[in-house]
Point group: C2
Chain length 445, copies 2
């Protein structure tokens, strides 16, 4: 029988050392988010193919692991394929569902299905695997855990503040320091583009280019916008705004000391509002300032929060504030989110305000693994080594002894004494067993 | 846009109340099993279709959710299907993988892939979802959580004893009482059939009929065996054995008081051995007695362990002791397992002893839900109700107050005060919030 030993392409077996960190992180996440009033929810890994392909998922919709129909429906779809030839639609007809590629779409479906049984506002915590048939590459897997918190049904910025505080409190408990929450608002992005004279249908293209600011700088963005064919005066005006705010430094406010970031940011937001005038609602800039000052005043970890007018966030479903966690140690984002007030309405027909924050669980676990993170409080570990062929009465006594210690929380590993006892002990020491108790059949204990 | 609100057929959205119990059970399982030296492992949800279809999965192989190939491979498979017509092989060719239907097969693959990085013996804890395209029915879902502990590389009955003690300790912590661990050995099953004159190729059929003992009784089993065409003298001899052991009572030793079960069982095992003589190795009966007395002597919960010669366990991969948890409250099995020394050899080419015990996680959660189980120690729950349009400086103060309490482990839910405050509070009381603190924009706090 030819059995395959390796996992399927792009997915991985998780070894005990990593699992220890994952279990610890999962426990801490649940514990921390619960103090903020979040409750766990779960949706199936398999979703309707119609929902997965509804244009809410952006690029991810190209990466779906599709699940085949079964039984008569599969036979019918296959016959249809034979008749029609192997065209796209006929191939698509073979599948009725797929593995979820994120937790946001399933949550929207969940909420619209269960809203009557849920509190309002509803604070949801979701931890679960998602699947994307991405090109396999180092450190990136086709099955990975996502960890999302969402507040549904809350129109006010309480939602944004709570999400950012919950997430940063968690990161602090995981010993992360010196990170930055970058924050912006889709409406500021749009107002800045409108003020500069760009037409609404150009926004998406402009934002995709703007998003490269941290890589290619102001000059690079300018060059690409011009290359795209936008009028020089619009481009000049647009970049002038950014120059004023980030001072020609692509990193923007992040060069300022963490404690100063909030103040600088609030000044910058005022500057934006003063410049944009009627292009931007007062409420948008005021809310953003309040989010920043509230987070700054109640933060439970060593981090900065700063307004970053270059922050775009890919997904087009965002409607208000957007945010991202930048971590120098990782050299990139380890999480992000924002307000998406229109997605749930797609299911229910009536708009429901919603804000979400997702942490990059896999990246965080990787950083902890690489920094040789020690899970705290794993307790005492004892190994009982027992001689082979121990008589029943003595075996009973050994198991009773083990029970007593286990009841106290001691980890007791009972195993048969090997011929090479020295080697056996060395191996167990590597696993963290510090104490060894030996039992022999012909001795009393 | 036509979005579907319900989950896919046979799968379910899990509501907060159930999730609270699930999270609690998951935490307790990890904590308890860890004191026995088990370490968590995880395998991908998606497995090679070749492995899933390798005849290790019995009936489950008919219930696989198959995942379609992607890109060029899918196009090629579809073209082939068009050429060949919609026959079984061509349809099969569309898929390269599937969702795992249990955790045992993936664990065998995992062990053969990673044995060099794992301790020996290896004590694995797996909690994860599995998928089976079963006919949807009440209380039975197409995605469900399994929770398995396995000891790989341990030849001695230490493995069986540890697994049974770990599982029963867990059930005790979950407040289950009065359950019974039924235990048997595949080699006793076989020896009893051999002694009665059945040929080896008939064992599987005979055991399938024997397995119905608790439903149809001794007479029913006799009738079905005769109907199957087995010689009357064999059937008489076979049922005579069972009559001697279970005294014509299909429930067998389980009518005895829990504390007496172990002693009665050890007597019964002696009786079996004396009757079967050379048909049964001394070691088999001695080991079974030692397992029973060791578990009885170190048990951490209120349960009985009893030898049940009618216990069969479906899967043909079992090679030694087999066991099952019977729970009166549920009227059926809530878990089981056994020794399967030959499965891992299918991957590696060299046999590796293995024993596993799986608890019926979903059934246990259902029983806890139905008994209105209260998760202990969920802590104090406070609701902060804040007036709309709170100024930034006051908002900052509120969030800082919440932080102080959350740091102490208090659950603080901050939300906007609604117009119908009375109703809002009533709803929150239903969620367990006992204390309400109100904040107004024009008052000091």
């Amino acid at each position: 029988m030819a059995m395959k030993k390796k996992p399927v392409t792009g997915m991985k077996d998780i070894l005990p050392r990593e699992m220890e960190i994952r279990d610890y992180a999962i426990g801490l996440i649940k514990e921390t988010y619960k103090t903020f009033g979040f409750t766990s929810v779960e949706t199936p890994a398999v979703e309707h193919i119609e929902n997965l392909s509804s244009n809410q998922g952006g690029e991810n919709e190209k990466l779906i692991f599709k699940v085949m129909k079964r039984g008569d429906k599969l036979t019918a779809a296959a016959s249809k394929l034979v008749e029609a030839g192997a065209d796209r639609d006929a191939i698509g007809g073979l599948s009725d569902s797929g593995l979820r590629y994120d937790l946001t779409l399933p949550l929207s479906r969940y909420y619209s299905n269960n809203a009557n049984d849920l509190p309002s506002p509803f604070k949801a915590l979701q931890m679960g695997n998602v699947w994307r048939a991405d090109k396999p590459q180092r450190g990136r897997f086709r099955q990975f855990m996502q960890c999302d918190i969402d507040i549904l049904g809350e129109q006010s910025i309480i939602a944004e503040i709570e999400l950012i505080l919950a997430t940063t409190t968690l990161l602090g408990k995981l010993d992360f320091k010196n990170f930055t929450i970058r924050i912006n608002d889709r409406r500021i992005l749009k107002a800045m583009a409108a003020y500069s004279g760009f037409a609404e249908e150009d926004y998406d293209t402009v934002f995709i280019i703007l998003d490269k600011m941290d890589k290619i700088g102001l000059d690079g963005v300018k060059e690409e916008l011009l290359k795209e064919g936008y009028a020089a005066d619009k481009v000049e005006k647009y970049l002038g705004l950014y120059e004023k705010l980030v001072g020609g430094d692509a990193e923007g406010a992040s060069v300022v000391a963490a404690s100063e970031k909030a103040n600088v940011s609030i000044e910058n937001i005022k500057l934006v509002k003063d410049t944009l005038g009627d292009f931007l609602d007062d409420e948008v800039s005021e809310n953003l300032s309040t989010i920043i000052s509230s987070v700054e005043g109640a933060k439970a970890a060593d981090f900065g929060i700063s307004f970053d007018p270059t922050l775009v966030r890919g997904m087009s479903y965002y409607t208000g504030p957007i945010f991202e966690i930048s971590m120098d140690e990782y050299g990139g984002s380890v999480g992000g989110g924002g307000r998406y007030d229109e997605m749930i309405g797609k299911f229910t027909g009536q708009p429901t305000p919603a804000v979400g924050f997702s942490i990059g669980f896999e990246r965080i676990v990787m950083l902890l693994l690489e920094s040789n993170f020690q899970v705290p409080g794993t307790g005492e570990r004892k190994a009982y080594l027992i001689e082979k062929n121990m008589p029943a009465d003595k075996m009973q006594k050994i198991m009773a002894l083990a029970k007593e210690e286990r009841d106290k929380g001691v980890i007791v590993n009972v195993s048969i004494m090997k011929k090479n006892k020295k080697f056996q002990k060395e191996k167990m020491q590597e696993e963290g067993y510090t104490e060894f108790v030996e039992f022999f059949a012909d001795r009393d204990f």
